[in-house]
Point group: C2
Chain length 186, copies 2
Amino acid sequence: MTTRPGPRERLLDAARDLTYTQGVHVGVDAILKQADVARRSLYQHFGGKDGLVAEVLRTTAREERYRRVMDGAGDDPRERVLAIFDELERVTTRPSFHGCRYTAAELTLTDPAHPAHAEIRTYKDGLHRLFADELTRNGHPDPSLGADQLLVLVDGTLAHAVTRPDAHPALAARAMAELILDRRPG
Amino acid sequence: MTTRPGPRERLLDAARDLTYTQGVHVGVDAILKQADVARRSLYQHFGGKDGLVAEVLRTTAREERYRRVMDGAGDDPRERVLAIFDELERVTTRPSFHGCRYTAAELTLTDPAHPAHAEIRTYKDGLHRLFADELTRNGHPDPSLGADQLLVLVDGTLAHAVTRPDAHPALAARAMAELILDRRPG
DNA sequence: TATTAGATAGAACGGTTGATCTACTGTCAA
DNA sequence: TTGACAGTAGATCAACCGTTCTATCTAATA
């Protein structure tokens, strides 16, 4: 049989699952129960619930996921970016989709001192760099602005799809992304 | 002296303020204290906290605010829509900005049965109609798609500005809105 | 074998949550 | 004056919150 992951990993897995399906306000008891871990382990490994939540955000997919989607689309610079929105269309139409984990955490945790905010900022900055690098390689006239625009499209798609999935915001965003990509210097 | 609003209005005002600054998970006690209203009045008027939260969303600004911004921009069809993003730039750079109230409620209230979700859907559908009507008047080739795109830009701006206000997503979105508006039939 | 670190189980802490309850106060109309 | 009604004040409820605690067990190390 496969070796069971340690308590630390089980806590992260359970927290990743429950904070997404139930929200970050899910109780510690529920996380402990699903992780099948002693109460004390949580405070020993993460210092408390806040630390656990922050670590979940820090260790979740990150930009690697976007990178994988782009790499899976081949070499054509245009198709690589558009593939992101094709993937978003798939993600946002799944029944299990409940919005963007990072946006939800940002809006739910109203205390500016919560350690999660720094992780969210780091994540989105990383995405900006990923997009800007991609646009730079494609000769985009203003990669930083273009990356900001792609981020607005991604965040807008994920936010809007929660309330109006039947509007297929990913497809609407894809069409806007095409317009951005068609902008050529000069 | 001016007559003090009744308990119902005071409850709505306090809830509107506190659910935005503290989040929808703010305690009933805090709302009652700021409204200076008896506990019983809340349950008599709104049936409970859920009803109060839903009523706050139902009676908040709505599309009238967007309508006012567009009307204040004059008659030029292009300027009317772009004025929305100029206003978003002002709103999202204010220190008091804490994100979109509706998106926050949608993502924070994970119980699909919460009455707030219907109000949020009604609100965004109303915005879609407002934008679609505007685009129809301007001869846009696909007003419904255009309205969906504008909604993605608005939601994306409000969502992204919480984490990265220095990126000025409203300006990035404005440039994309220009591209949408320039699309002409044929 | 003795020691130590990590994990476990579970009671208990003080505080807060949303909700319900009784009792009292003021106002206005019949 | 009486009755109805809305609002107020505050006690009370069970449930839950995140956290801390003691105590026990296990496994690897020295």
